[in-house]
């Protein structure tokens, strides 16, 4: 197997017209979180368990329709400051294989609009490229980009 690790960090900022306490509540309460968290893709099965406290775990197991795959998320809450900050580490696995390990930091800051949320995600993306499906997808994408490029060239 081709062993690879790619590291990446991204930061997203959003302003919400609600108090930090309320936005924090949407992350800390399981029923509330399920209203917006996901799943992002079409799923045929979805399980979610959440123990929101320092040292507590959160797990999600989902069976995707397209691409047909099982995806799991397992998080450990490492730091919680009520109404202000959540830091958790998590791993993602696809078809039983670990594809990434990340640290996510969510900060809830008071803002004239209500809340400024800052999400910082630092990830190590593992070996996940060495699968035929992903190579095929990458190639298909490259060929699609080529088509677009050639269309622009000839027009």
């Amino acid at each position: 197997m081709n062993r690879t690790v790619v590291h990446d960090t991204f930061v997203l900022e959003r302003r919400y017209g609600a108090s930090p306490r309320r936005v924090f509540g949407a992350w800390s309460n399981q029923a509330a979180k399920e209203q917006w968290w996901g799943p992002d893709e079409q799923v045929e099965a979805f399980e979610h368990a959440m123990d929101f406290r320092i040292g507590g775990r959160e797990t999600i197991n989902a069976k995707l329709v397209e691409p047909a795959a099982t995806v799991s998320f397992e998080a450990l809450y490492q730091d919680i400051v009520d109404g202000e900050r959540i830091v958790y580490s998590y791993e993602m696995a696809m078809n039983g294989r670990r594809i990434s390990v990340s640290v996510a930091t969510v900060e809830f800051l008071s803002d004239p609009a209500g809340t400024l949320l800052i999400l910082t995600e630092q990830g190590a993306y593992l070996d996940g490229l060495d699968t035929r499906a992903q190579r095929e997808q990458g190639t298909a994408q490259l060929l699609a980009q080529l088509t677009t490029y050639l269309e622009k060239e000839t027009s």
Partner: protein
């Protein structure tokens, strides 16, 4: 390495892929590594011609070949790097959609009873803004 910020590398990539035979080779290699004769088998071209196409693909950085004994094996490499970039981009896009849904969810909640103004801790940046405004008066 395939870098899209680098116009020359992009041109090389597209030149390499503009040829239908080379596209067939790339599609075959997306399934896994292959020897020159394996690549030539489904194509109606000679082994030296396949070899030439491979050189163009190698020059573009799309394909890497290794010679072990008398067998030359080729595989795709930069496409994988491109794929991880897409993958990270997907993760980011997922977070964007998720944070949008959080906004939509918050909008469904009843108005907050506790007045938030004055009772919330004020950020340092806000205090600095405030001080700046007062200084201008």
């Amino acid at each position: 390495m395939l870098k899209y910020a680098d116009g020359d590398t992009v041109s090389l990539t597209f030149q390499a892929l503009a040829d239908p035979t080379r596209r067939t080779i790339v599609e075959r290699l997306s399934l896994g590594s292959a020897s020159v004769s394996e690549l030539a088998a489904p194509l109606s071209v000679s082994l030296p011609a396949v070899h030439q196409h491979l050189q163009v693909l190698e020059h573009s950085g799309l394909v890497r070949s290794e010679k072990v004994g008398r067998v030359r094996t080729s595989h795709l490499e930069p496409t994988m790097l491109q794929t991880v970039e897409n993958w990270i981009e997907q993760r980011r896009a997922m977070w964007e959609r998720r944070l949008d849904r959080l906004d939509a969810y918050l909008a469904t909640l009843p108005p907050e009873v506790t007045p938030s103004a004055g009772t919330e801790p004020v950020r340092k940046a806000d205090q600095a803004d405030q001080a700046g405004k007062e200084g201008n008066r």
